[in-house]
């Protein structure tokens, strides 16, 4: 009980970020009926591909599926930190 009080007094919770992530994945899953595993893999692959050309913040890359007029669109949003210079051959 005392621990709970102390936590309440001092601590900053973080469960809302967990909730938001779960929610975003749940909504994508609901719309496309693809599994979490596939989405996580896709997420990783996209990060890898983009990383070949750009320096990106891997943590903030967002995968989103939007539905408009009956069609689903895959939207990838990521801040680009810098472009990678091609290595001279």
């Amino acid at each position: 009980m005392l621990q709970g009080w102390l936590k309440k007094l001092m601590g900053k919770g973080d469960s809302k970020n967990v909730a938001k992530k779960r929610l975003q994945f749940a909504l994508i899953y609901d719309k496309l009926e693809v599994s979490d595993d596939i989405l996580i893999k896709l997420h990783q692959d996209i990060v890898d591909v983009i990383s070949r050309y750009f320096e990106i913040d891997k943590e903030t890359l967002k995968l989103d599926i939007r539905k408009s007029e009956g069609k689903s669109a895959l939207v990838v949003n990521t801040p680009i930190l810098s472009a990678k210079r091609p290595h001279p051959a």
């Binding site: 900053k12 469960s15 938001k20 749940a26």
Partner: protein, 275 residues
């Protein structure tokens, strides 16, 4: 029964469905409160309980012992609108059309509801349809006649997910809904333990109509049947009044964000769980 004649200002009333997908997020309280607030603005308002078989809007409004006819009777032409519309005891211009308790949702159909609401438009400035939980027949019946939709959700994963589904279904019917986030606990949002309204709006990408905080007055209001919007010390009641003003065309009225109490001792009290 509605006493006297129903007088109206404008020509054609608006039909607004209040829906959420998930049950227990505050649709009925919102319908009763927004309806009461619109009536206080001087509009002729009917609130219709579409939850056939599980009616509750009547008890929330404190009108449960005055039911003679219901929405099923009115839709089927067994009584006139005036006979089914119960006049509120406290608020002028507010009428309740209760659900029937003995039927099920299949006794109504979308076409019949569209016809019925055409008649309601002539009598009222605003008709609020309190949609049942779920996305089945009761939802279809409530959405078919609607010009506008208000989606209610709480800042929880399950509620936002269901809201997203319902928003999709409304878009498919060419209705662009507006959102009310209900039962916000500012302390929890501040602490990072509750989705903020920004999070919810971002996930749902939908226009915001209002924010309502968790308020123990809601329980008291439901206990007594006294409208929430008449309680000056109820933050939720006041939020619903502003929502009604916005629905009534005051689009520039700013949306107030629920805040934690300003007083230091109140905050300490809330943190350690007293008060």
């Amino acid at each position: 029964m509605a006493g006297g004649s129903l007088k109206r200002c404008s020509l054609e009333g608006k039909i607004i469905v209040i829906t959420s997908g998930k049950g227990g997020v505050g649709k009925t309280t919102a319908t009763a409160s927004i309806g009461a607030a619109l009536a206080l603005e001087g509009k002729q308002v009917a609130v219709v309980d579409m939850d056939i078989g599980l009616r509750n809007l009547d008890v929330v409004m404190g009108l449960e012992n005055r039911i003679v006819f219901n929405v099923v009777d009115a839709v089927k032409g067994k009584c006139k609108i005036k006979q089914a519309a119960i006049k509120d005891r406290r608020i002028e211009n507010l009428y309740l059309i209760p659900a029937s308790q003995s039927d099920n949702k299949d006794v109504l159909n979308p076409e019949a509801m569209v016809r019925f609401c055409k008649d309601l438009r002539k009598e009222f400035d605003f008709v609020l349809l309190d949609c049942p939980a779920g996305i089945e027949r009761g939802f279809e019946n409530s959405v078919a006649p609607a010009d506008e939709a208000v989606v209610i959700c709480t800042p929880e994963v399950s509620s936002v997910r269901d809201a997203d589904r319902v928003i999709g279904l409304l878009y498919a019917r060419s209705i662009t809904p507006k959102l009310i986030v209900n039962r916000i606990v500012p302390e929890m949002v501040e602490r990072g333990d509750m989705l903020s309204h920004e999070d919810v709006v971002e996930v749902l990408s939908i226009e915001l109509l209002g924010l309502v905080e968790m308020d123990t007055q809601v329980v008291i209001s439901t206990n007594t049947g006294i409208p929430l919007v008449l309680q000056k010390d109820s933050n939720a009641g006041q939020a619903f009044r502003r929502i009604a003003m916005r629905l009534n065309g005051q689009k520039s009225l700013p949306i107030e964000i629920p805040q934690t109490p300003k007083s230091f001792w109140k905050r300490v009290g809330r943190k350690i769980g007293i008060g």
